[in-house]
Point group: C2
Chain length 266, copies 2
């Protein structure tokens, strides 16, 4: 059940050396699906969680809003045996998601947090052809959000309030409602035990700015004092550091902080 030998029978394959086997291997001719990385791109603007949506100009779901997405670039195996093994199979799935993110937002690669969400593979979810959608979610800092190209007319991308969208009952294209709901659920859960909130504030931020991000994501208020205590714990644990300078917004001068991004340990 788990082995596939293409046009080689199992017995033949088992008696050959690996390099020989691979050189002789032919892809089975069964139909394959398209694989599409779709993106749920979030930011927080005006203490409100927003998602980047495009308006579909063609069928199907013409006129509906949709999540931006694209297709995974796959390369076929070259005919000559000389190329195998180690031939170029195309781009990594994650690289495709990063590429799409950069194309859709116009932001440089690596400027946003990106993580895989879930893979959606119901038959018929795209009426044109069989498509497996690997959904990713991305977090864009509010300082970068206004730079996102809001309307090169190929696909006019807009920041849409998630709450307003849910309240309106507007239906998205394909199964994108389901994808969006799952993404919101994911970040609401994840913000409690991982530092994703720091990818939704500017590089330096005040306590209240961080609190407002929590409130926007969770869709509820936090007691400022209780939040301050959580903040002080993070400071004590060296998760955040005091940054130079300060900020003022109508009252007392506020300390600004910086997230102490943990170094990748090798």
């Amino acid at each position: 059940m788990s082995d596939v030998s293409g046009k080689l029978s199992h017995a033949e394959g088992a008696d050959m050396a690996e390099a020989e086997f691979l050189a002789a291997y032919k892809v089975r001719e069964y139909p394959r699906p398209s694989v599409a990385p779709d993106l749920v791109i979030f930011t927080v603007l005006d203490t409100d969680l927003k998602v980047l949506l495009i308006r579909r100009k063609g069928h199907p779901f013409r006129g509906f809003r949709a999540l931006p997405g694209g297709f995974l670039n796959v390369k076929e195996r070259p005919e000559g045996e000389s190329h195998a093994p180690g031939w170029d199979q195309g781009e990594d799935l994650e690289a495709a998601a990063h590429r799409e993110l950069a194309e859709e937002t116009g932001l440089p690669e690596g400027s946003c947090y990106l993580e895989q969400l879930y893979t959606f593979g119901k038959a018929g979810r795209d009426p044109r052809t069989r498509v497996i959608s690997v959904a990713y979610y991305a977090l864009v800092r509010p300082t970068l959000a206004p730079l996102v190209v809001a309307g090169d007319d190929a696909d006019a991308a807009d920041w849409v309030s998630v709450q307003a969208l849910f309240d309106s009952g507007e239906k998205l294209a394909f199964d994108h409602d389901e994808i969006l709901r799952m993404a919101v659920q994911r970040i609401r859960g994840k913000i409690d035990y991982s530092p994703i909130a720091f990818d939704l504030v500017p590089d330096t931020f005040t306590v209240n700015e961080l609190r407002e991000v929590y409130e926007a994501v969770k869709g509820r208020t936090y007691d400022p004092k209780t939040f301050h205590r959580k903040f002080r714990r993070m400071l004590a644990d060296n998760v955040i550091q005091v940054a130079p300078g300060s900020r003022i917004t109508g009252g007392r001068r506020a300390t600004v902080y910086r997230f102490n991004r943990p170094q990748a340990q090798p």
Copy 2:
């Protein structure tokens, strides 16, 4: 970037009604990957977390252990326009995972917990052809585990101790080490805030049996009294109920309980 119109130009598509568009739609001829549901099937036997592995009989990775898996059945669109829309695109991705699970274990569908884990899509992860692996993990009750066919010779499946496997440094086929590690990490995290432990005990169980499952999954011990308190809270919250009967294992008679599976709310 996000729209695909196959062999129809964008402008043509935009001026047609949806049914017409779909009838005229032709699949673009770009290469596609295979999509493979791979399974990380866990059980707990002798207070030890086990995973079901097969031994590969053919290239590549001949002789290595691997996770069981298969391929998603995809149907191509019929040529005649009469069939569109609503033609059969093949099986749902999740259905493919359930099917594979039933095939690999010999257990009836629906007898195990199954959940999507992550999608692995590095180029070159399968040297034969481009494969996107959608990994799922499954939980098999210890009462069912011995029924799993341990050696129909196509792919001799075995319950392997996860800890022993990690300690041995044995390398699995493909990127299955990475998949297994992520699956273990997932259930270790998830057991703390969701009722997956109840899918790793018999239908009725004692407090200590449930504790042993936690210990096996988390790879650490729990203070029996502290665990008992957690258990009493679940009883108070009606998460579990006292079941008829009792069990005895060499000492005092133990009460048996049943998980009060929450009904799916419509």
